[in-house]
Symmetry: C2
Subunit: 306 residues, 2 copies
Amino acid sequence: MSIPVTVVGIGKIARDQHLPAIAGNPDFHLAAAVSRHGTVEGVPNFTDFDRFLAEGPAGPVALCTPPSVRLEMALKTIAAGRDLLIEKPPAATLGEIETISAAARDAGVVLFATWHSRFAPAVAPARAWIAERKVERVTITWKEDVRRWHPGQAWIWQPGGFGVFDPGINALSILTEILPGAIHVGAATLEVPQNCATPIAAQLAMTARGTVPVAAAFDWRHEGVQTWDIEVEASGQRLTLGMGGAQMAIDGTPVDLPAEAEYPEIYRHFARLVAARESDADFAPLRLCADAFLVGRQVAVAPFTE
Amino acid sequence: MSIPVTVVGIGKIARDQHLPAIAGNPDFHLAAAVSRHGTVEGVPNFTDFDRFLAEGPAGPVALCTPPSVRLEMALKTIAAGRDLLIEKPPAATLGEIETISAAARDAGVVLFATWHSRFAPAVAPARAWIAERKVERVTITWKEDVRRWHPGQAWIWQPGGFGVFDPGINALSILTEILPGAIHVGAATLEVPQNCATPIAAQLAMTARGTVPVAAAFDWRHEGVQTWDIEVEASGQRLTLGMGGAQMAIDGTPVDLPAEAEYPEIYRHFARLVAARESDADFAPLRLCADAFLVGRQVAVAPFTE
């Protein structure tokens, strides 16, 4: 029987990804939509979350609201005994996601804190390739045009909005998936526009497995070819993940991969978790972000205007 | 039999607190000292940590070095099978302390991540008082003169040096001890001198138990009466912890307390942990710091000169 799922927060990510992924997955059907502004045709729409929980259709909730309002909605969902899928980043702070995770555990509710980039087609092959080699160096280059990917999203520039770490955490979610084990932030520079509270660019110097240097450069001011690359040097070879994990090459030779299907894979995984009554909530990418802010030096750069 | 303990990092906190506490505790005796600059009379002194581990006397290590070099020394201590006491903050990042904690667990070594303020005489009575009441509001005022308490400690102004969170984390360690349960940072302002990388003052807006407002003001520019106060309004009464937990009053009436003995209590607790083969490593205060940096808005303030 198909699972009724309600999407909360009908913004860009819900329309671009969640609704099509649900429509394409026979294990789910859209039961309702909750949003202050957006509506979805063909299902009941609610503007008030409490009213949806009380009167709306049963079933899991997919939370696609900005992280700043994640905590309260997540706890209410869990208190209602509903399973929960959360867009990334899973919450505004580590304290919040630990509270959400503990509440889900106590309530016996399934929590899936998604990291969509982990479902990119190159990630599993890269992890397998790395597992058999000695990693020498990792270089992350994550450079995109914020005006193109986040039009009108004022919250990303507010305190707690993550700034360039909103895409950067995708790279960190791949990094922590393909390179298991502890990764530490040693130093970071965060470039914050004079009229914003969050960084528009960042450089991180990390260490994996005690001694492996991991350098990351995030930049939201990049108007040319959009670049989401991770390069891994290991045992004398060079693995390259391109386009956020949609492409992969070894020593420059492309590897055949299936087509990108991150959100369809997310909902397939969610169906498995719900069936098995298991949670999947890894905070490592968020912890790397918080540690980068903790040890980072913030420098003021030119104001940003959209 | 008295336990031989070696103090690593012979700076202000080691001389002011650790050495006297060890000297006054019959369960311990100082076995050696490790420091690049400082020496202690009457025991073997080492300038090289690896050499101490290989050739020095056996027994636990008390790490009093700045947090930026904590990770490597902690892991070496654990790999040598030695029990470990760590000054606060326990490491430079959450990732580091999680790695240290996991290594200690795997090695069966006792890890005591100390928060000295939790051993202030008012803390246990305050926790008991709060446990029987409904908390309505908490106000933390932590204002001291950095020139008086941290003379010449340049590392506090470097990235990862915590700035005013170095004393502020003491308040957070008391807060998380007297008010069990989740505490979330909702917003923070971090005032960073133009010539420094870390804040000289900070204001935090937190929430405890879902709805209880917890306000904290940290300031290192305070030259008058030094103030380390926590005020708890609960069930219509007002509990005040003064002098970092050395004093306590209820509705203005002082409560009799034993004399302050934080570090003696730390070593008494460490002796119990070593005897029971138990660790005590709570990261909640460090997580609150990291979350404050993650959601905090940094504002530039006047340069600091010592």
